[in-house]
């Protein structure tokens, strides 16, 4: 028998009004504008877009504001919103080679065509708190230097000529791109679906897994072959027009991780690669993603599977923070009946345990008496 218990509507309603009040905070402090969040908290917005798997800065900033800065809550809100929209189609694959580059570095080549472009990075800062930001200190315009029309080819294309590094991918040309928003996950999965899952995966989870591979749990000897951040054009084929149109640009971060590889029965010794591609400016995530992409290719490359970061089902099933938070947080919802049942069960088992102990005591006494 299932007995529904009702109640709490007024409490819930009041809790949500209290939430709205606390979200707004002190009314004498001006409310934050969406534009301010986009402009001044851009990397938070990027993380919400990347893990929300929806590129829209305005909506991501709104979700971030609504969630009081709680990343996973904001990501959850954005994911929920996307389910209300129709799917118009699939874009042409974006071309990171023709990116309008804002940052591009390689840890493997010092002098590479296009150069090392540091861009707006936290690297080489001293991580000292800046009291100037307590106020609204004027910030100067950044210096410029004639860029010319220097091209910056992908590092992987430069290395490819010698055959020392594997190709971009070995999936057959007619392999249809799987879509985990349309089909349920199945293991083992092809690398394309895995990359989709990793790109929307939790940054912290992927960071920890990537770190574990560096510390010896599935060692993969990585080098950051290239990291590039910038804008790429998104095109979609419009059947009624008979040609593809440009929808605009999105910012992405790409990481090409280059890994040592001894070779196996299947492949000669060469460098293998892990790939990361993430919405927005999100270097840490793209690097972690490429480390985990590489470690998850263990069985493809004939490597022993010894570590968590190589276990596809473990990694992919737990990388999505909306799923994870849903299952963890559901524990706080009322489980009164379940718990009541468990309580009865434990009481019964305990009574049986105590009764059998009492019986043993009697039996023991009996043995003693016989001696």
């Amino acid at each position: 028998m299932y007995v529904a218990v009702k109640g709490g509507e007024a409490a819930i309603d009041n809790a949500h009004r209290l939430l709205a009040d606390r979200r707004r905070g002190d009314r004498s402090v001006p409310a934050m504008q969406i534009e301010q969040i986009i402009e001044q908290l851009g990397l938070a917005v990027d993380r919400v877009m990347s893990e929300g798997s929806l590129y829209d800065r305005e909506l991501a900033a709104l979700a971030f504001k609504q969630a009081r800065g709680d990343m996973i809550e904001a990501i959850f809100i954005l994911r929920a919103y996307r389910t209300t929209l129709p799917r118009f189609g699939y874009s042409e694959p974006v071309d990171s080679g023709t990116m309008q580059i804002e940052r591009r570095i390689s840890a493997t080549y010092k002098d590479l065509p296009g150069g090392q472009l540091l861009g707006p990075t936290f690297d080489y800062t001293h991580r000292l708190l800046d009291p100037g930001l307590m106020g609204d200190e004027a910030v100067g315009t950044p210096p410029r230097r004639e860029a010319g029309d220097r091209q910056a080819p992908r590092v992987s294309d430069i290395l490819a000529h010698e055959g020392l590094i594997e190709n971009d991918s070995d999936l057959p040309d007619d392999h249809p791109a799987g879509d985990l928003t349309r089909e349920p996950l199945e293991f083992p999965m092809a690398r394309d679906v895995r990359l989709q899952a990793l790109s929307r995966g939790d940054e912290g989870f992927l960071l920890a897994l990537g770190y574990s591979t560096q510390r010896g749990f599935a060692r993969s000897h990585p080098f950051a072959g290239e990291i590039r951040i910038g804008e790429v054009e998104v095109e979609i084929d419009v059947p009624e027009l008979g040609f593809s149109v440009c929808l605009g640009r999105i910012q992405v971060t790409e990481c090409q991780m280059v890994n040592q590889f001894q070779g196996s029965s299947k492949s000669p010794p060469q460098f293998t690669r892990g790939y990361g591609l993430v919405f927005g400016q999100s270097e840490r995530k793209a690097m972690a993603m490429s480390l985990v992409d590489r470690s998850l290719r263990a069985s493809e490359l004939g490597e022993d599977i010894t570590a968590p970061a190589q276990d596809e089902e473990f990694v992919i099933s737990h990388a999505d923070n909306v799923q994870a938070t849903g299952f963890v947080e559901h524990l706080k919802l009322p489980h009164y009946v379940d718990f009541q049942a468990e309580l009865d069960l434990v009481r019964r088992m305990r009574a049986e345990f105590l009764a059998s102990q009492a019986g043993d005591d009697v039996a023991d006494n009996g043995v003693e008496a016989a001696q």
Binding site: P86, Y90, S91, S169, R249
Partner: protein
């Protein structure tokens, strides 16, 4: 002869694609102003939208390999018909319906040979120039962060 017609069509199509790409990246206010200032505005009928939906953005494994699904982006699209029968179409990232409605109207005006030069000169070209300037500024700002390596020579060779 046929191939000449074909190549003229391709040229025209590429010019339209380029104009549509500029309109997709334009600011909503630029397109609104352009339409408001357009003389002898034709009547506009919406055939579709403006409506917002999603496009699944694809990347390539390793940068140049097999396509995979990266994640979705919001897209708004509209199709309009002007009173002269010209049909215009627009798609743009984001959720701004008014912007895309204006872009579709401007696309329809662009396709009409009589209004095309004015659309190109007065609307598309100024926006294109602004976008190019913006790109060029960004490139120059990035170029200022390019590392110039130099080697420290030590010892007493000289």
């Amino acid at each position: 002869m046929k191939s000449e017609t074909d190549s003229a069509e391709v040229t025209l199509q590429n010019a339209r694609r380029a104009a549509m790409a500029v309109l997709a990246r334009a600011e909503a206010s630029e397109l609104q102003k352009a339409w408001n200032e357009w003389p002898d505005q034709p009547d506009v009928q919406l055939l579709r939208g403006p409506e917002t939906g999603l496009v699944m953005v694809r990347g390539r494994i390793g940068g140049g390999g097999t396509p995979f699904n990266l994640g979705e982006a919001t897209v708004t699209r509209a199709t309009v018909e002007l009173s002269n029968g010209q049909v215009g179409h627009a798609h743009a990232l984001g959720t701004d319906k008014e912007k895309v409605r204006h872009a579709a109207i401007i696309d329809a005006l662009w396709q009409d040979e009589t209004s095309r030069p004015a659309v190109e000169d007065q609307i598309v070209e100024p926006i294109r120039q602004r976008l190019d300037r913006q790109d060029s500024t960004r490139r120059d700002e990035t170029a200022a962060t390019r590392v110039d390596f130099f080697t420290m020579v030590r010892g007493e060779d000289e």
